[in-house]
Symmetry: C2
Subunit: 762 residues, 2 copies
Amino acid sequence: MTRDTWILEDEGPAAAAKYETLFALANGYRCLRGENPFLATERGGSFIAGVFDKSDAQVLELVNAPDPQGLKVYLDYEAVQANEEGAKNYKRTLDMERGLVESAIVFKSKTGNILELRHEKFVSIANVHRWAERITFKALNFSRRILMESTIDGTGCNAVGHPLDCAKHYEVSGTHGFKPGICLSAVTNERRIEIAEASVIACEDQGACLNLLRLRQGRESITEVYELKLEQGREVTVWRFGATFCSRETPGFLAGACERELASFRKDGYCGELSAHEKAWHKKWDAIDVRIEGDDLAQRSLRFNLFHLASSAPSGDSRSSIGAKGLHGEGYKGHVFWDTETFMFPFFLHTQAEVARDLLLYRFMTLEGARANAAASGCQGARFAWESADDGIETTPRWGVDYAGNHVRIWTGDIEVHINADISYAILAYYRATGDRVFMKDYGLQMLLEIARFWAGFVKADTHGKSFSIKNVIGPDEFHEHVDDNAYTNYLVRWAFGKTLEIAGDFENESPDSFAAIMERSGTAKLEFRRWKEVSEGLLLPKDEDTGVIEQFSGYFGLKEYPIREWDENDMPIWPAGLDVSKLGETTLIKQPDVVMLFAMLPEEFPRESKIVNYDFYEARTMHKSSLSPSIYSMVGLSLGKTSHAYRYFLTSIRTDLDDNQGNASLGIHAASMGGAWQSAVFGFGGFSLDAKGIPQFDPWLPEEWTSLSYAVKVGRAELRVRVSRESIRVESDMSLKVVVAGREIMLESGTPGTFPVAKCD
Amino acid sequence: MTRDTWILEDEGPAAAAKYETLFALANGYRCLRGENPFLATERGGSFIAGVFDKSDAQVLELVNAPDPQGLKVYLDYEAVQANEEGAKNYKRTLDMERGLVESAIVFKSKTGNILELRHEKFVSIANVHRWAERITFKALNFSRRILMESTIDGTGCNAVGHPLDCAKHYEVSGTHGFKPGICLSAVTNERRIEIAEASVIACEDQGACLNLLRLRQGRESITEVYELKLEQGREVTVWRFGATFCSRETPGFLAGACERELASFRKDGYCGELSAHEKAWHKKWDAIDVRIEGDDLAQRSLRFNLFHLASSAPSGDSRSSIGAKGLHGEGYKGHVFWDTETFMFPFFLHTQAEVARDLLLYRFMTLEGARANAAASGCQGARFAWESADDGIETTPRWGVDYAGNHVRIWTGDIEVHINADISYAILAYYRATGDRVFMKDYGLQMLLEIARFWAGFVKADTHGKSFSIKNVIGPDEFHEHVDDNAYTNYLVRWAFGKTLEIAGDFENESPDSFAAIMERSGTAKLEFRRWKEVSEGLLLPKDEDTGVIEQFSGYFGLKEYPIREWDENDMPIWPAGLDVSKLGETTLIKQPDVVMLFAMLPEEFPRESKIVNYDFYEARTMHKSSLSPSIYSMVGLSLGKTSHAYRYFLTSIRTDLDDNQGNASLGIHAASMGGAWQSAVFGFGGFSLDAKGIPQFDPWLPEEWTSLSYAVKVGRAELRVRVSRESIRVESDMSLKVVVAGREIMLESGTPGTFPVAKCD
């Protein structure tokens, strides 16, 4: 395994906005966009988890907070810039193993002086309030002072450059010059959340060559200017220490907290903090890494997905979750979608179950909002928001822009109700994998019950009251709006009803006191259970009895066919000729898997033959206009022996942001696609699954390019380490447990690896 | 004469900063930098004559005021930008005849919609508080709304991008939304000058397709967003009306003044104001134009010089003058130098004498500051500032950066005293050309006396008290600092002493009461006159008696010679090899004419033979590192029959900003070089001069390329129109007067042109 597969290189100034996402550094508490210290910012930003505001925006959005990263170096009064004539040997890399970004540049001023610079930045995952930079200067052919300008910028806003959508969500409440050191405080407009950013520059030689020359306090920014005296040939290193606090977690006067933190940070030193940060990453990688031998491109790309997904996870804070774009940008306004439970959740569940628990707790914290959403649609129980911000109230914008640039009504917030079933699914998956009965008692079962109460009121009975429909919804395939009886929704709702009743029964039998308390908290009467059973059994599940194809929704089979005949350079389908993209709902083309999604989530519920028929039918009609699509086709395909497209889909999936194949990487990472990438690697190629009883199964398959695939998964309290080579599968567990490898049931002894011949290989 | 010689075309986005100067529009009251409506601003700005502030800058500087020009057009949510892929047929031109900038672009959005835009801007010279734009839209292949964003930006500062020098000179004191219409008020930090900028957008169809959608009020900016509904193929025109007021000239609540002005501007209409503006330019061009037939490049370039120089002139405001960079940028901090009196003044004197008078009145208004400067150097009388802002106190920065990038002490403010003699010279030239005795009585003579008083105290007597020196000065050639007895200074001081005594004598004889009052105002006692005469007669004028070369200063002949052997592509000398540019003072190389400058200003004071010897000697040592240099060599050369270099120097001079041959056109125009260009054209090629008695003389010479040269000059109350062809000189006057043409004295009858054979031609 080469070190190279940990390193990602920047493509240079032309792709600056994209790399501000790709090189963003996050620690769950906050994210600093990957602003290039040697380029003007394109889409800069600093985001703090859970800090949402509405101001004059359409809906609540993740606040693009004051940005502490402003840094400029001036040589002979010229700013050192990577896109200027004097710039040479420019290089910038993301080191995923160590969690830092390194830049280097050699800059020649118009007066002929040549300066060599190296820059390193990290956002500590050991102490989430800290971030820092190390800058090394070497004057190659001169001895003279240079200038360095450090700025905390509070002039920014969300959706900069969008005349109607741009919104400034905070007021700068004060600037403080510590001389040296600067601090800027702000408070959000509606939620009144306070934020303080501070930084200070220090030099390894105790200031002998570093002097603070000027402090500039603007209305919405603060800057300090240092001179640094360089001598030809001698390297000088300076550090910028950064501290960030927010009233969500820190009480009191935040500028004071910043000042104290900067002092203790300086005492601990840059190297001290960096070392703690690297150790924490080492530990994290040990849990999450998936190793691919023989395919460096796939290895590096997959790690890129895992790095950012892991960086996005809340750091012990159950009041926030992961937005569709991580903490990495303004895309989807920082909102939490089904993406979290359906695509990202399995990764955390099987590598860091405590994070998975926090993600579910976030939903529990928003129950009040979910009840309000249900009430707004005339139902009891809980209806979790399709787009969720800080309080669970539905925050989907009502207006947007379609593929043709038209101003269109967005219906997802009104009718994409499957989110409720997705959350039930995640709670149940968590319970199956961890057996965490305390969670189920305190939070899980209550949510399942409140969700079930919603469905019971939301379904429509036919005139006989025997069969039930879920009408006027949007399924995962958003090309078709206002459909009745979407297969994905109906199947998942029915399944969740069954599981909810089952677990409720268990609790009633085993802990009647707890059960009574849960029933009371959720407002559920035992009487309701009979109705739930009727609804569940009577829910319509349309299917073509001749072909076995499950109809995606009532009437889908009658839509117009537009066969896909062309693919772009990324192997993504091209819109068929003659199609009107504003009328996709009239065609059988779909955005992403809907029926096929069920096979990924509930494999045991469908016979293999049915899965094959449906996979073939729907794959041919999928435009993959969601980044969530390819990974699912890869993974489900592998489970069905359809290996020919699996690697192509996998590569498309793990390259989503790297190749920017959705065209919007600058707005943040595709966090769900990253979760899908892990699922595709571990569930798909790694062949890992849990059966209905929670017993681990391994049935791997390796693409031609790969010599081996290794990963770790947690099941209950056990950690399993798996290595698949072309010859064998090796499974090791730190606890004794039963596993099924390539169809054979085996009792694994703790610490004694079992090695088994390969069942299938390319 | 083709229309083409009135039009200047932009070189495109790469040269944006330069064209923000070249396409700046000014009316003497204010200047709006030539910001491209389809490009992000590089060095934007808005300047109002006389609005200086210091704040935390090194010295008082012309304030880069709130900028009302922010304009963005969004097609399908993409900003229309000239440097984007979708931009086609981009063109921007300055129409000097009409005083406006026109832009055109065709922009294709990523969704395929194509929009054609035409944009026109003018800053009215008919009503200096008004500026306006006309924007014409045509949707070529779609029908849909587009968005337009109009901003008044108060976030800017002076010296943006300079970490130590940048300074914000005002606070935004309020923003006002008129709905429609926006206004931003600001007040400067020290001088407490209030400024208000306002604008509103209106549509020719009375708003049927234009709607105000949003008003955004930031802490330091205000923006309004309009939608404009376009129908395929139909042209729609909108106007932006702008109004600007400042407490220097307007009392009361400025935002109210803006609102009223916008209302009356809308009533007058865009076309109404444009027509008044064009008429005013037509009248101005009639007075100032110099027509060259046969050489379109020279014609267009020369007009460019006259256009901006005329635009910079104070509009009836004798409290401000013209900075070295016009009103067009931040270069030289908006300060007024000798450039105004020595280079620009003759142009105004002979085309718009009322402006020349205002320029001198500005100096009179700063007399108190000049007295303080004199007192600070231990002298009586007046010492006008080398760099002057609003009050005449010396404002030269004490520190700057040299050619090698070193931080160096600037001595000009301390010792470049010849400015005082230059002002005397301009007063005397004004008096000779206009005979304006009222001016001389009220202002001119008082200034001459106070200047003379300064010199009388500033000179140093030798031990015998017979000869006098002016020690430790800088002459026009700034390569040599701390020199004694600079020829330019000493000759001009001596000459001014003589003229001052002469005019004082006249006044004493003819208007003894006025004379007594003037003497009292200037604090002069008659006794002082004897000392002045002694000083004047005893001032050292060093010269080599063998060669006849006037020594530029004591000891110059002993300096090291570095012969100039190479010239760059603009025919400008290249630093000789082996030279240390930080030690220019040790060489005979000079920056610009010093001795030769005297021949331009006082031709009658030197014999022709002496002029030739000195011209040859100094031209060979001149690096032309000032834009003021080539025009003087051109003009003096022509008077000496040295025609071979005259055209080359002339072209260099008129192309200074167009070719950016000093490398700093982005910081403002080279206003002195523009004055020099006119002098070179009219005094040099046109052969116009006044003899010591004020009698007009014409002795023209045409370069090979030219078929004719025409110009108008004012002498006293007479306006003379001159046309020089290869065969003859035609002179016409609106008053009868005596002229000398090619050495022959002639009595010109009013309205009867005289035509004379050519004396010399190439």
